[in-house]
């Protein structure tokens, strides 16, 4: 309120270089330490006030919980501060460049957040009579139509809760289709470069997983694939664009070969962002593909979810898709096809994948994003995403080894290896050096087919200035890694924590907080 820094004061100190003193609190100005709620809260504190209700005789059937639960409470001021301080220890898209390959860390528009919070969507129960949720069903339906049109497919299953759940959905549809024709095939072919969820999803459904070899170009080896096809092969799971950032040129030929051999083609659509509006997977013969709404369609990643993984399906697989789904009637009304109403309408559905109708909160956001861009804007998204990635590839390929630079332009992401670093220096050191530079590192050590892989996905929501600065910073860090700068080995220096001991964490897992031993506490 007043004469704080006396006007006209001039700093008396010399320029920097002076030793930085340790602080009493452990804080470093705006870099604030924060204890656990268990250390600052008590079971007697609360940040809520409750309405008064009359007392009643309990009808809990004698199951009263008498023992202390051990849940600490905080007042609202303490709560807001606790989480605000914690949040400040995180990196995020809102803070800066987050080129985590395969994750499509694009900007999350704030309109989406607003729309998702409208009471008519956020405050509606999944089991309300359908007459009272026509607007919500309309959103699901409208989004479904967009996804079908954008992919050129026949149908879409909206309920899967994330990409991996979508994979499972596609795999189950394949399994159901095979069973329906009495053809119990047991093998799913997956490239080595595939994301871990692919083999995991296939295995979950009881398939055995075999690798598809790659060419030196980083693409599926069509001939090798063809050679492996046969009556035991249920299908393939191909990521396109693939995890090396390349478009699978032979996708149509792969599909044709798989179909000819009686199998189905699953496409991992995690990287759909690179081609949305420029290529329709349906034109490439694909039978099922999940779309991560939290990647291509900008719903926020939320520190690890929630996501949403609708699966578009070919005509062949659509009849097997899961319940429930929405239906639009000629009179403009919507209904929900679930166990209650399915009757003969969708008798071959493989069943239900989740309790309710999917990630409504992500549908509103994704549709808001889609309507904002429109057909023209989405095409521009793909183009800018690919342009940005190629710009990075171009800007770094003389400094870092780019094993597939000869394979044609990259799509949404640029892949490098750790070839050429000084002895003892690794991809991890580069990642940690980038942290100090104010970036979130790229994806590292994935895909597995490249040594010390660095997978950089800029997305279309980054400016040229951001890319230029990143290229400069990356060149500087790589130079240090080539020169064997020991300060890089101990990076990060400026983050809330230095490198963390993951061996200790895994050897003696401490997964929940426990009151310190009285004896220990008394030391």
């Amino acid at each position: 309120m007043n004469a704080l820094n006396q006007s006209g004061s001039k700093p008396e100190m010399g320029p920097s270089g002076d030793a930085k003193p340790a602080t009493f609190t452990g804080n470093r100005a705006l870099m604030l330490e924060e204890a656990l709620i268990f250390e600052i809260g008590t079971t007697d504190t609360t940040g809520v006030d409750l309405p008064e209700v009359g007392r009643v005789a309990s009808r809990l059937g004698g199951l009263e919980r008498n023992r202390t639960i051990g849940l600490p409470g905080l007042s609202e001021p303490e709560t807001v501060r606790h989480y605000t301080r914690l949040s400040r220890q995180n990196y995020a898209i809102d803070l800066g460049f987050f080129p985590l390959g395969s994750c499509t860390m694009k900007h999350n528009p704030r309109l989406n957040e607003k729309v998702a919070r409208m009471a008519g969507f956020a405050d509606v129960h999944p089991l309300q009579p359908v007459e009272t949720v026509q607007g919500a069903l309309a959103v699901i339906n409208e989004l479904a139509v967009w996804l079908i049109e954008l992919t050129g497919m026949h149908g879409v299953a909206m309920t899967p809760k994330a990409g991996a759940h979508g994979e499972l959905c596609g795999i189950l549809a394949i399994k159901a289709a095979l069973e329906a024709r009495g053809d119990p095939r047991s093998v799913i072919l997956v490239p080595e470069s595939a994301h871990g969820t692919n083999p995991a999803s296939a295995a979950f459904a009881g398939f055995s997983v075999e690798n598809i070899p790659a060419t030196s170009e980083g693409r599926v080896d069509l001939d090798a694939l063809k050679a492996r096809l046969g009556p035991d092969v249920a299908g393939v799971m191909i990521t396109n664009p693939n995890t090396c950032g390349l478009f699978e040129r032979d996708m149509k030929a792969i599909s044709d070969a798989v179909h000819a051999a009686g199998g189905y083609v699953y496409c991992d659509g995690a990287n759909f962002n690179a081609i949305v509006g420029r290529v329709r997977p349906g034109d490439l013969g694909i039978d099922a593909m999940h779309i991560n709404l939290h990647k291509t369609f900008s719903t926020p990643h939320g520190g690890g979810g929630p996501g949403s993984g609708p699966v578009v399906l070919s005509k062949a697989l659509s009849p097997f898709g899961p319940l429930p789904f929405t239906e639009r009637h000629a009179d403009g009304r919507y209904s929900l096809v679930e166990e209650e109403t399915v009757g003969e309408r969708h008798p071959r559905s493989f069943g239900r994948m989740t309790a309710f109708h999917g990630q409504m909160g992500m549908f509103t956001r994704a549709l808001s994003y889609i309507l904002s861009h429109g057909a023209d804007g989405l095409r521009q998204v793909a183009e800018d995403a690919v342009l940005n990635a190629n710009y990075i590839l171009h800007g770094l390929k003389d400094t870092l080894d780019a094993p597939f630079a000869h394979s044609g332009p990259c799509m949404h992401e640029a892949l490098f290896s750790d070839d050429g670093l000084a002895d003892g220096f690794t991809t991890l050191d580069i990642a940690k050096g980038l942290i100090d530079e104010g970036y979130h590192p790229m994806t590292v050590y994935f895909p597995l087919v490249v040594h010390g892989a660095m997978l950089i996905e800029p997305t279309e929501t980054e400016s040229k200035a951001t890319l230029d600065q990143f290229i400069g910073a990356m060149r500087s860090v790589v130079q240090r890694a080539k020169a064997g700068d020991p300060s890089l080995k101990s990076a990060p220096h400026y983050a809330p924590r230095r490198r963390l001991d993951e061996t200790q964490a895994a050897r003696k897992p401490v997964l929940v907080w426990q009151e310190p031993d009285v004896a220990v506490a008394a030391e």
């Binding site: 268990f38 004698g62 954008l150 081609i275 979810g305 429109g374 989405l378 940690k432 983050a495 895994a506």
Partner: protein
């Protein structure tokens, strides 16, 4: 386009730098036949923020929002008052727009929160450990059955008839393909559960018994006997909690011997959202931790010896173990876990117990009031905040008639069990702190009118 920073000048400069003439040159690997020549013409072009917002506003108006009407739906999703600070915090860009904490040095915010969340869930459920979240209660339930199979190496899972029918459906879908055997049954409109059936069915083949607590009709009973019998036969007891607020009033499943406790966390912090995203809770005994699905956050130290947190035991997970992983889950429900954790922190034990008391008291008042309506009968002996009524006629049309009177009056069992005429008169009613005395009276009056 407001979300695209590149200007045409930028684009030209970048293409020149890369050494290609046009952006089409970057798509040369796409076969010519598959290239779209321009924006898909069946779809509209871009729209202003205002236009998009209005479109949604118009659609949102077509839904009956729970807060604007007397509201009594439950059955796996509950309307609770979520403090305003929860939504404020989860919108912090640092939480909202971060991803899985792969780089722990700059993700301590998310990691510490997960560690706190895991501890809260474990304590609430009476278990040793909990994971960093699953998609929702139904998938968590299925994953627990799979986990029991891996632990026991057996395939027979006995599902209580009180388990949410959608959870049963999900399990049934998966079981078809994993070779699990599910022993299921329909509930009956009576105050007693089918624990006798469960006890009977447990044998040396049994991998697990799955019991919802409180169950789909709002009933609940002590699980200790089932736990004892299961353990005797080397099987596991899996408890499913769809209303975590209940555990502020009633014993935790872990206290009664459950080996794995899963649940739906939506009640706290998350909101109704027409069914998703929600947050799956997953806790178990420490000895089973290496068979758990999903991410785990653990404590460690950094190179300076300071306490810090990391994702750990990832050798269970798909990104390391691929086809041998304990689950295929990757993206989970992080932000909902945060919301849950914040809400739980605001409550604290005192608030949670108080909230549970308010819910129970209102539910008792409502049950007594509704049971006074001629022809209406209260099914439950015991319940927490949800109970079942037997109406003198089919409940589904009654629910629609209530909606016409602007009352969202519960879930009809006909909706949940379409082919079970013996259940069709059942109406499940949930009453939380958001129901006022007037709401209850409005509901009762409307119901009486419809039934008479």
């Amino acid at each position: 386009m407001r979300y695209l920073p590149l200007t045409n000048t930028d684009r030209q400069a970048m293409l020149a730098e890369i050494g290609v003439k046009s952006v089409d040159d970057l798509f040369i690997d796409v076969p010519v036949e598959a290239r779209l020549g321009g924006p898909i013409s069946s779809l509209p072009n871009h729209a202003s923020e205002m236009a998009v917002e209005r479109h949604f506003f118009d659609l949102a108006r077509k839904n009956m929002a729970a807060s604007h009407h007397p509201f009594f739906l439950g059955c796996g999703a509950y309307k609770h008052h979520v403090p305003a600070s929860v939504d404020h915090i989860i919108q912090r860009g640092e939480f909202l727009t971060a991803y899985t904490p792969y780089q722990p040095e700059i993700a301590q915010g998310t990691l510490q929160m997960l560690f706190e969340f895991q501890t809260q869930v474990a304590r609430l459920f009476g278990c040793d450990v909990a994971n960093a979240s699953m998609y929702d209660g139904s998938t968590a339930c299925w994953e627990a059955i799979g986990m029991a199979r891996r632990i026991t190496k057996r395939h027979k899972a006995i599902l209580s008839s009180g388990l949410h029918p959608h959870y049963v459906s999900v399990a049934r879908t998966m079981a078809k393909y994993t070779g699990d055997n599910l022993d299921t049954a329909l509930p009956t409109l009576s105050s007693t559960t089918d624990s006798a059936r469960l006890l009977d069915a447990i044998d040396g083949e049994t991998s697990c018994v799955v019991v919802q607590y409180p169950d789909i009709l709002g009933r609940m009973e002590d699980l200790s006997a089932i736990a004892a019998k299961a353990h005797e036969h080397g099987a596991l007891l899996i408890a499913v909690v769809t209303e975590p607020v209940a555990l502020g009033a009633i014993k935790a499943p872990g206290e009664m011997g459950a080996d794995i406790v899963v649940g739906e966390g939506q009640s706290l912090g998350v909101g109704l959202q027409f069914g998703g995203p929600y947050v799956g809770l997953f806790a178990c005994k420490e000895k089973f931790v290496r068979q758990m699905p999903g991410r785990l956050c653990g404590e460690t130290v950094d190179a300076e010896g300071k306490r810090g947190f990391v994702l750990t035991l990832s050798t269970r997970e798909q990104h390391i173990r691929r086809e041998k992983a304990t689950s295929n889950i990757c993206t989970n429900s992080g932000l909902c876990a945060l919301a849950f954790s914040i809400h739980m922190t605001l409550l604290g034990e005192k608030g949670l117990r108080g909230l549970a008391q308010v819910n129970h008291a209102l539910a008792v008042q409502a049950a007594d009031r509704l049971a006074q309506i001629p022809g209406v009968e209260l099914v439950n002996d015991s319940f927490f905040n949800e109970f079942t009524l037997r109406l003198p006629k089919e409940a589904r049309p009654v629910v629609r008639a209530l909606a016409d009177k602007q009352v969202l009056g519960g879930v009809s069992l006909g909706r949940l069990y379409p082919n079970a005429p013996e259940l069709e008169n059942g109406l499940v009613v949930a009453v939380t702190e958001t129901a006022s005395a007037e709401d209850i009276e409005t509901f009762a009056t409307a119901l009486q009118e419809i039934l008479s």
